[in-house]
């Protein structure tokens, strides 16, 4: 019998959110998500022979002294299997456990699928758990906050539209102290390249934008950045399984490129 034991970590996004759940809401949400999974979920759950070969693939398992509850198969057993077995009738505390496992004990590297003799896609199963937790709004606070930032502003750091513009223009001034003719050209229609950063750059390390401008200047690249929404290439919504916000963010990003008539998008990381 697997026993899930962890040090307590306080997280408002989990602890406070589970208090707002009702049994009906939990059951309905789980069953709605599982209904949409078709043969894939069933095939994976039926095929797994619990051999545990996937364990050696997982860095969470290896870095926690081979604690079996960190093995990929155990993480599925401790979450999704229980939900399926109980037809969605699980407790709020169980949802809190699922959220902790799905969001903080698997980083979707997919190595385990390569170790599994059947190629079972464990990450797909964990992602279903994330989706359920997301719809129940039981998500670690800062992940949910970042997701909400994407939903509200289409960037991950709550940047206002004028914050973004001002930061880029300021960094252009900075880079021009060193390279007199360097530019950060906003909205240059027909440029070869649209460069997009991730929002932590303008928010916390704006000098990275100046560094990019230096590289572009030295390389002679015909480039631009959008002054409007769509400038952030990050998409935390994908990580928390908010696929609606994820697609909205991606659509904006590509549409910025279409609008600026560029041939390529170049992204930082």
């Amino acid at each position: 019998m697997l026993k899930y034991e962890r040090k307590e970590i306080a997280d408002l996004g989990i602890d406070e959110s589970v208090k707002r759940l009702t049994p009906e809401k939990i059951t309905k949400t789980i069953n709605n998500v599982l209904k949409g999974t078709g043969a894939r979920l069933k095939a994976y759950l039926d095929t797994c022979i619990h051999c545990g070969l996937c364990a050696e693939a997982c860095h969470y398992y290896l870095s926690h002294g081979k604690n079996p509850t960190y093995s990929p198969v155990a993480k599925v057993k401790l979450t999704l299997w229980e939900m399926v077995k109980n037809k969605g009738n699980v407790s709020p505390d169980f949802i809190a456990q699922c959220s902790r496992i799905a969001y903080t004990e698997c980083n979707r590297c997919r190595r385990c699928s390569l170790y599994c003799p059947y190629g079972i896609d464990i990450w797909y199963l964990i992602a279903l758990v994330r989706r359920i937790c997301l719809l129940l709004k039981v998500v670690p606070q800062y992940e949910m906050d970042t997701n909400y930032s994407h939903a509200a502003t289409l960037n991950m750091m709550w940047l206002k539209q004028d914050d973004w513009i001002d930061t880029v223009q300021w960094q252009e001034e900075e880079v021009r102290m060193e390279y007199k003719t360097a530019r950060i050209p906003f909205d240059k229609e027909g440029a070869e390249v649209m460069y997009t950063p991730i929002a932590p750059e303008p928010k916390f390390k704006p000098q990275l934008l100046a560094a990019t401008a230096k590289i572009m200047h030295a390389a002679g690249v015909d480039w631009t950045m959008p002054s409007f929404d769509g400038w952030d290439n990050s998409d935390i919504s994908m990580h928390v399984a908010d696929f609606e916000t994820m697609s909205r963010v991606e659509r904006k990003h590509f549409e910025a490129a279409f609008k600026l008539k560029v041939k390529r998008i170049v992204m930082c990381e």
């Binding site: 996004g13 709004k137 949910m144 909400y148 939903a151 509200a152 206002k160 004028d162 513009i165 041939k263």
Partner: protein, 418 residues
């Protein structure tokens, strides 16, 4: 069309400015901008002292700034700009400025009559909209994007009505965003709001709104549709009515809904819907399957699909025909009524129909030169820079605004000589 009739459609060629000279005269030349009628060309130029001003048909503005951008000619050929100095933003109009100054100003847009300007702004630390120099009295913690009513009298923005603490996910989920019209917010908030638009009679506003995680709908004047969807995209009003049409996702597929009820068949994706000028037909970009993009008119998809993208549809002025930019295997072209031009391009700009809808022209790029393409046939001349071509009122002549060997020309060319 009134102003197009007043343009010079007779003078074959006007040499307006030598941009190479500008480049010699100034330290830098940025953001070249052209008036609709092609009579004027302007750019942000940098003086030797590192400050910026504007060169407009060779005339230089005496004022200089630390930052200067977003040049935009109105239809009277006055030039708007956003200008910053001494920690204040202002709006330039030709050689003058609006009296009002701002902490920041952006999203500069011409008013529907083509004369005035509207923008988002921050003033005294609060956010709103400014229309022709008049700032909303009521301002907010944030304002993102704007819409202006077709009659030019009302402005709307997506505003944050409540300030919340950092990472307060619970307060956020209660809704902190609304649409404000002339500074007056709707009487309810939403979790998020994206695109929004006025009805053709300027009395109503529709917006795509988020009700909850995974739950979306359209709200009109703050009242959400009864139906809730897995996702929605931008709404539009049917011209001359208060009916609202938006793409909505039910289960795994998309359809177009009017006032909440489906009016189209099911597609893998739908967006960019547009009414024909006569208000009778609807066309949209659709995917019939994953990576099969095309246009549907009245829910009927063209049989030809493209694997990378199809941009929003364009109707001919007589509402008969539909054209769209299409992309396949990294090559761009235009398709008209489902049939792509044979020639493909490195890049292509929006299709332009002749007044009677018979011809389609577009600016296109091939091997770093720009061409006018007429019904798929690439024009004789390749230019260093080119702006969207404009058909004359009789549909026989085309206004070409181009730069050749560093010189800017305005030309009127019979369409059959392009």
């Amino acid at each position: 069309m009134a102003e197009i009739n007043n343009w010079d459609w007779d003078t074959k060629e006007k040499y307006i400015a030598d941009i190479n000279e500008w480049k010699k005269k100034f330290k830098a030349v940025r953001e070249i901008s052209i008036s609709d009628d092609g009579e004027r060309i302007a750019a942000v130029v940098e003086n030797n002292d590192g400050r910026f001003t504007i060169c407009n048909n060779g005339g230089v503005w005496e004022e200089t700034f630390e930052r200067l951008w977003k040049l935009k000619f109105n239809n009277e050929n006055q030039l708007y700009s956003l200008a910053y100095r001494d920690y204040e933003w202002g709006v330039g109009i030709d050689n003058g400025m609006w009296e009002e100054k701002f902490d920041s100003i952006w999203n500069l847009t011409l008013t529907p009559d083509g004369k005035g300007a509207v923008a988002n702004c921050k003033k005294d630390g609060t956010y709103g909209v400014v229309l022709n120099g008049n700032v909303w009295e009521n301002r907010f913690a944030d304002a993102r994007n704007l819409a202006i009513s077709p009659d030019g009298t009302k402005t709307a923005s997506n505003v944050q009505t409540k300030s919340i603490k950092v990472a307060d996910i619970f307060a956020f989920a209660e809704g902190i965003y609304s649409i404000a019209i002339d500074g007056n917010p709707w009487d309810r908030n939403f979790m998020s709001i994206w695109s929004f638009t006025f009805s053709s009679d300027s009395t109503k506003v529709a917006a795509e709104v988020m009700l909850d995680v995974g739950a979306f709908t359209i709200a009109v004047d703050g009242k959400p549709w009864d139906q809730v969807f897995g996702c929605v995209w931008e709404p539009i009003f049917k011209p001359g009515t208060h009916d609202v049409v938006a793409p909505v996702k039910r289960g795994a597929t998309w359809t177009l809904a009017m006032n909440g009820k489906p009016i189209w068949g099911e597609f893998f994706q739908i967006w960019g819907q547009k009414y024909s000028p006569d208000g009778q037909k609807l066309a949209a970009t659709v995917a019939t399957e994953f990576t099969k993009w095309t246009i549907a008119v009245e829910s009927n998809a063209w049989s030809r699909t493209w694997n990378e993208t199809v941009l929003a549809p364009h109707f001919s002025p007589d509402s008969r025909r539909v054209a769209a930019i299409v992309k396949e295997d990294n090559r761009w072209t235009i398709a008209v009524d489902g049939i792509p031009w044979i020639e493909t391009f490195d890049m292509i700009w929006d299709p332009v129909f002749s007044p009677n809808g018979d011809k389609v022209i577009a600016k296109a790029e091939k091997n770093k030169k720009y061409y006018i393409v007429v019904d798929g046939k690439i024009g004789k001349n390749g230019y260093d820079a080119l702006w969207d071509p404009v058909f004359g009122p009789d549909g026989k002549k085309v206004l070409i605004k181009c730069i050749e060997n560093g010189k800017y020309y305005r030309r009127i060319v019979p369409v059959n000589e392009i």
